[in-house]
């Protein structure tokens, strides 16, 4: 007989206009375990977490916490009930000190006034307990995202040590930082904290989690011990019967590719922008996929932004179809047939309040000019065609984009650019934070687009992905393009990694 679950969810249901996000989901979380919540984008993970933390109100079902039925009306009630959450984006105040971020709302007080000395002392103790080297009186924004995330965890655990929800905490951390995070998680688990962990990195799930719950399309697929379910079985449960994309994914088989040899569509010659990226050369031919590899902040995005006119270069020349061109704005770039899918799909791309259809036709409409509106029938035709081609779910063109999951939002953004039939497609982290199924689909799509003659610049932090797709890989390090490697079939992730690490091709 196992012990009582600390948190139990029965038959929870949540609807949005046009979407059933959760449909009768059950879920259990035991003290002293790390539990993974798995599922593709749109499976309902984020919704379930938001219901548990009181951001959303459920439309049915019940939440039982430590044997008692509770109604979670808001984030404050969730915290008081013992459920704390650390989100992918750090939800702390960057302008306040580390100590304040841990204690705000619960500051130690003396005679009604905040006792700063006691607050700093206690914060320093908490931080030391988790083996972190942090000056608690420094402002939070003087530390990296990884440290900020750990501070958020310190706060969450100190607020209520029963249930800790970690929503995609590792997506912007490097390997050492993940190790540090896992050490903290293990320590907390051993203290009896129940941890719910959401991540798209399967290796991480298998490294840290004891059990997992799998959701699919808003329904419960099952609850498993990590030791009883291998990765391939897990993925097949996440995406259901459609195993088609899986072999391609698991096998690591690279497509046969012969680099196109035609005239370059775009040539950058010593292109540079001070403080963003040092002079670099780059040729992209129609039908060619160029990968950009490098660590976060190595200048990948900055290099790409110059090619889209999002930033102005202050040196070097850019040729498009042979002619020297100065891109003064993204409008110029679009007119030359360049499309840019940015990594911040929420802030720099989609309009959440508009429907899928409206978002898809937005760029096309803009290029036609507002005086010549696209007929409704044509809009519907475009929307339906791309919803089908990219398998956007739900397949309802009138669903509001903000109600879609991250992966599906990414597909809408892609559709918007593809509809304009660009000659060069720049993709900045198109698969960041989306699940394996959608990832495979997007990769396949990129390969197909290139075969049809589109030039693609593909930026990704995942080397495997870059290697699988690219003909050639530009490696960036400290804002400098240190090498361009031909992906001739013998290039390995290790060699790319070594190039990133050493700053030279070996």
């Amino acid at each position: 007989m196992r012990q009582q679950p600390v948190l139990e969810v029965r038959g929870i249901r949540k609807e949005f206009p046009g979407v059933v996000a959760l449909d009768g989901v059950d879920f259990r979380l035991f003290p002293g375990e790390v539990h993974a919540l798995m599922g593709e984008n749109g499976a309902g993970k984020s919704t379930l977490i938001k219901v548990l933390t009181g951001v959303y109100q459920s439309d049915g079902g019940e939440v039982v916490l430590a044997g008692e039925r509770v109604r979670i009306a808001g984030p404050l009630q969730a915290q008081q009930a013992g459920i704390s959450t650390v989100y992918q984006e750090v939800n702390l105040c960057p302008n306040l000190s580390v100590a304040e971020n841990i204690f705000i709302g619960r500051e130690p007080r003396r005679f009604g006034l905040v006792d700063w000395a006691a607050m700093r002392r206690r914060a320093a103790e908490l931080v030391r307990e988790l083996d972190l080297d942090v000056d608690v009186s420094a402002p939070l924004n003087s530390y990296s995202i990884a440290v900020q995330q750990l501070v958020a965890i310190v706060r969450a655990v100190d607020v209520s040590a029963k249930v800790l929800i970690l929503d995609e905490p590792t997506s912007s951390l490097d390997r050492d930082e993940v190790r540090q995070l896992f050490a903290v998680m293990r320590r907390l688990r051993d203290q009896g904290v129940a941890i719910l962990f959401v991540s798209h990195f399967l290796d991480q799930i298998y490294e840290i989690c004891d059990r997992m719950t799998v959701l699919r399309n808003g329904r419960l697929e099952g609850e498993y011990l990590t030791s009883e379910l291998n990765q391939v079985e897990l993925v097949s449960r996440m995406i259901g019967a459609e195993l088609a994309g899986l072999h391609q994914l698991g096998g690591g088989k690279r497509r046969e590719r012969t680099a196109p040899t035609g005239k370059a569509f775009l040539q950058a010659d010593r292109l540079t922008r001070r403080g963003a990226v040092e002079p670099y050369d780059l040729d992209i031919r129609p039908g060619e996929v160029i990968g950009l590899a490098g660590l976060l902040g190595s200048g990948r995005t900055e290099a790409a932004r110059l090619l889209f006119g999002a930033d102005q270069s202050d040196g070097g020349t850019l040729r498009i179809e042979g002619a020297v061109t100065a891109l003064r704005s993204p409008r110029d770039a679009i007119a030359h047939g360049i499309a840019f899918c940015s990594e911040n799909r929420k802030t720099e791309g989609l309009v959440g309040e508009l429907t899928v259809r409206e978002n898809i036709v937005l760029a096309l409409q803009a290029s036609r000019g507002w005086m010549r509106p696209l007929p409704r029938a044509a809009q519907d035709a475009y929307a339906l065609r791309w919803i089908r081609a990219l398998d956007i779910r739900p397949n309802n063109p009138e669903a509001l984009v903000r109600n879609l999951s991250g992966g599906n939002q990414q597909k809408v953004l892609l559709a918007r650019w593809l509809i304009t039939d660009p000659k060069l497609l720049i993709l900045d982290e198109p698969t960041r934070g989306i699940d394996v199924g959608a990832k495979a689909e997007i990769q396949k799509l990129v390969a197909n687009l290139a075969e049809d003659g589109m030039a693609v610049l593909f930026i990704s932090a995942e080397l495997e992905e870059v290697l699988r797709l690219s003909h050639r890989i530009g490696v960036l390090r400290d804002h400098r393009m240190v090498a361009q490697l031909d992906n001739d079939g013998e290039l390995t992730p290790e060699r790319v990694m070594a190039t990133i690490a050493s700053g030279a091709d070996q």
Binding site: L76, Y87, C93, L113, D133, P139
Partner: protein, 323 residues
């Protein structure tokens, strides 16, 4: 890493340091250039002449720290002078009843604006703009003329000089300094004050950390309303009249003082003592120009305008570097 943290912390202080340096150098230049400038009384006169602005700017600091803005303060000051003069002079109410009533009115008005801003998620700019028109308009329903105050308690407040050695200050200046002191403690040593900073840092985060966002926001505008009404009361002591054209454009002076004092208009960063320095800088510009004698008083505006440009660009550079 610690050196980096120290740098980040120092960077937040740059605007404040610049203001302090500016204040000291302006005062030094004035002292060298003009006879009789270098005296304690010149400094105290800055406080006496700008007591009402200081109080209003303190309220504005709370609002700006949350990332908001309050355009209604000048109009609320005018309405407060009007209501005071009207009730005291034309209805014979005792000042000790009128003053609390006026303060309550200002607080309630501010609270209401804060409530509207939060509940209907409307830009503070437009809500307080409406409040500004409303308060300014209400002045003229009382009278379109200036009403002078002859009540002995008011004239006593206007004429009392509290000696400080060979120098003196007015009761209004002391009240303003008391307001600064209380506001300092509230901002830095109470949960309300820390919530104000948190709200300015990130409203979304403050909400998710379980902080009382709505209460903090309405309180901040209520504080600004209270400070405006108190500023109005101090202005009646100073001018001995109520008039619908009092304090025209005061909201802009208050915002200028807050910005020159180093508070970021985006919220979350700044100090109350900076606002005090900002008010003194504005006052000192006026003093220098009056000592100079030949320049028109409109030069005050020109200098303030130029300073504001410099400080806004400075703020932008600092926040841009931070990202």
């Amino acid at each position: 890493m610690n050196a980096h943290a120290l740098l980040t912390r120092l960077r937040g202080q740059i605007p404040l340091l610049v203001t302090a340096v500016l204040l000291v150098s302006m005062f030094s230049v004035g002292s060298v250039q003009y006879e009789g400038f270098f005296s304690g009384q010149v400094v105290l006169n800055l406080l006496i002449d700008n007591a009402f602005l200081l109080v209003v700017a303190v309220g504005m600091t709370f609002v700006v720290l949350t990332g908001g803005i309050d355009l209604s303060v000048g109009a609320v000051v005018a309405l407060s002078t009007m209501v005071s003069a009207w009730l005291v002079e034309q209805h014979g109410w005792p000042p000790l009843l009128v003053i609390p009533l006026v303060l309550l009115m200002g607080t309630a008005g501010g609270w209401l604006m804060g409530w509207i801003i939060h509940v209907f998620e409307i830009q503070p700019f437009i809500v307080t703009l409406a409040g500004m028109f409303l308060a300014r308009g209400l002045c003229y329903t009382i009278s379109v003329e200036s009403i002078s105050i002859t009540d002995p308690q008011y004239t006593a407040m206007a004429q009392t000089r509290i000696p400080l050695g060979s120098l003196f200050v007015s009761p209004s200046a002391l009240i303003a300094l008391l307001v600064v002191a209380v506001a300092f403690v509230v901002l830095h040593y109470t949960r309300l004050g820390r919530n104000v900073y948190a709200l300015g840092g990130s409203e979304q985060s403050a909400l998710l950390m379980g902080l009382p966002v709505q209460r903090t926001k309405t309180t901040v505008y209520a504080i600004s309303g209270f400070c405006s009404a108190l500023g109005g009361v101090l202005l009646t002591f100073y001018m001995l009249s109520g008039y619908g054209l009092h304090a025209v454009g005061l909201e802009l002076d208050a915002i200028a003082a807050v910005v020159i004092g180093g508070t970021l208009l985006t919220g979350g960063s700044g100090y109350l003592l900076g606002t005090l320095l900002g008010v003194l800088v504005l006052g000192l510009i006026q003093t220098v120009i009056s000592f100079q004698g030949t320049l028109s008083s409109w030069w005050t505006r020109i200098v303030i305008g130029a300073l504001l440009f410099v400080f806004i660009v400075l703020q932008r550079l600092i926040t841009a570097r931070r990202r």
